[in-house]
Symmetry: C2
Subunit: 393 residues, 2 copies
């Protein structure tokens, strides 16, 4: 057989393995020092009670002849899709049920959606970036061009009309920077996409962290988005589903290429190459969107947001430039004293035993920056800022 040689062009990321190696070495040499990890992008609070109850109740259903469920619809059960439809409606977005596809997570669908597109497309990716956008396109042999996200544009690049792109990745609130597009900025991207017959792959996995009502939580709040944008969202950060696996992808029926409707293509892709999310998990996800579920997850989100504020306040006090942390679990800071990302990593690890993520791991524009996350425990977050405060003060 002939293998897909594009795999040889994927650059192996040693980011997290290098972090692990450095941390392990430090821990071995300093067994008495407590290391606080604020580098991870994973949640730490448990699932809400209402979700656990729904999971258990659905498990019971599966053990009884009368309520047992076999194959379900590949695109998800209506009981969950109607809940998501209502969730969008609360943000002023009207979706048809068959525009919503239940997924096992945003990461899977962000990769799988590429099945719908020819190899011959130019992919536009902001730098710094979530590495999956780049790797999945490299695997498929597509040409990737980058747009600079940097301090000059507040890490929110706008379209360059002289550049022709076909597939555009946007993530807002952004991973890794935490920057959030406002409506005018997103409108510029939507207009660019519609003018260029391009498609926007909009990663809204962190929309639940937005508190400012004027900031868009969905790209469909922007006029014209339904003819150019596919939106990917996830319960991972919203409801602590990183190990429970459920998300959703919205493919509006009005995105077309000639007489081909992308919604129909995606339905065909999913019915052929996917068998749906487990019934039990879909019942757990449904519970997230109940009144009680929304109340419980809001408490968890507030916990993470308060952590972010605690970190942000300490950085402010010491005049360390940073963005994010307000509508995002991520704090993106400029390494003080012109340290490189890795220098600052070593500096924090050696002096205050705080582990973060070097910005250079997310692309060239990340050099000199550093990502901290608010997903740690309150206790650890407070201890971390106390150490920082004492050390920097």
């Amino acid at each position: 057989m002939n293998i897909n040689t594009n795999y040889q062009n994927i650059s192996d990321s040693y980011l997290f393995s290098t972090i692990a190696k450095k941390v392990n070495e430090f821990a071995a040499a300093n067994p008495d020092k407590k290391i606080i990890r604020l580098g991870i992008g994973d949640v730490t609070l448990p699932l809400c009670k209402v979700v656990v109850n729904a999971l258990k109740s659905a498990s019971d259903e599966m053990g009884v002849q009368e309520t047992f469920r076999g194959y379900g619809p590949e695109q998800g059960y209506d009981f969950l899709k109607t809940k998501i439809q209502s969730y969008y409606k609360n943000n002023g977005v009207q979706l048809d049920l068959d525009e919503i596809f239940i997924s096992d997570g945003a990461k899977s669908d962000l990769g799988n959606i590429l099945d719908l597109f020819a190899q011959d497309n130019t992919v536009l990716v902001p730098d710094p970036v979530y590495p999956v956008y780049v790797d999945t396109n490299t695997m498929a042999g597509r040409k990737i061009i980058y747009i600079d996200a940097n301090a000059e544009n507040d890490f929110l690049p706008l379209p360059d009309k002289s550049v022709k792109a076909d597939i555009i990745y946007l993530c807002s609130p952004n991973n890794p920077t935490g920057a959030v597009y406002n409506k005018e900025q997103l409108k510029a991207w939507v207009d660019y996409a519609n003018e260029n017959n391009a498609v926007i792959l909009f990663d809204s996995a962190y929309e639940c962290f937005i508190t400012d009502e004027n900031l868009p939580r969905s790209i469909y709040e922007i006029e014209g988005a339904k003819t150019c944008a596919i939106e990917f969202c996830s319960l991972s950060k919203m409801a602590g589903f990183t190990g429970t696996r459920c998300g959703y992808t919205v493919v509006p029926k009005s995105i077309t290429s000639g007489d081909v409707v992308l919604n129909k293509m995606w339905l065909r892709r999913q019915t052929t190459k996917f068998n749906g999310v487990p019934y039990i998990i879909q019942r757990g996800a449904e519970a997230v969107f109940t009144e009680e579920g929304q109340k419980e997850i809001q408490e968890n989100l507030n916990y993470y947001k308060e952590n972010a504020k605690i970190i942000s306040d300490t950085l402010k006090k010491h005049n360390i430039w940073h963005i994010g942390g307000k509508h995002s679990p991520y704090i993106w800071l400029k390494c003080p004293n012109n340290m490189t990302s890795w220098e600052f990593f070593d500096y924090l690890l050696n002096n205050v035993q705080i582990v973060g993520t070097p910005g250079s791991g997310f692309g060239k524009n990340g050099e000199g920056y550093f990502r901290l996350t608010s997903f740690g425990s309150r206790e650890n977050t407070l201890e971390a800022v106390k150490r920082l405060d004492e050390f920097l003060g």
Copy 2:
């Protein structure tokens, strides 16, 4: 953007929608007649108690801080992989843990594995066939050639050395025919693949129905398979997981192309485009492989096997040629009186109100054949053969 125009070459299957339409029309015209559905390929017995308990216990764990799990390994937890490793060992097959990848089902991975191969490969598919093999390759623009499975070769075609294929699909016990390759026959395929630098994608989703110890339940029981075969299996039929979603894919480390190791490519694919099966579901799957779980699922499998025997015995009594049903949930019969598949469908529906699947829906060699399944209830299966017996007798 440029769309993947290969999607326009996928033939829309109207098989199941046509069946539904005919059944609905008959039911509307004959409201007093009870229709028995023996066409479905979906299980009907509920999950085992030990599985339900494991699902509930894992759900509880996810609701408690100390035992909560976030992102897991994309390739699956070791607690489940070690169980599958032991399951293989019982069939005399030794696998390394990192050759086993937990999946959300055989269908997903049978499609996704194609990411590893270039477009320029010739795909060999038996006819009749599970349509997903054809559709996923058509979507990727690959050349497909067919090999005839028919009554002359007992629906177990062997390699034609004059034909050069790169990617070969085998399914044993077969869907739709229920035919099972013996070791000598599989050896011929393994030798062919190794000689031609081809890869065999071996779908063993129905291995759990095999009772004859001399028949291979895994292709790795065949010498040489570890350098050419990738095996896909599923808990769907084994443990009633069609709506619970868990399977596993084995990619031996000894399959290479030049210096590229396919196991490493698949790991890269999965870590980039997949986030693993839900922790809760993996705990449910683990329970399947416990002593108690194996006992419970065996009872369910015996129930389906007895249904198959009941159907097969009636067909034998009336001298209707058929295969399968012995090591498979499927019975593949020759339509009597030279009826076409659809003529026999109408004949059964109109006269005895039994719904099966026309063989022609699985390929040209399926014309004149018909598939019945043993996944119905005992009561319905007995009622169906009673009607058949009276009508044919």
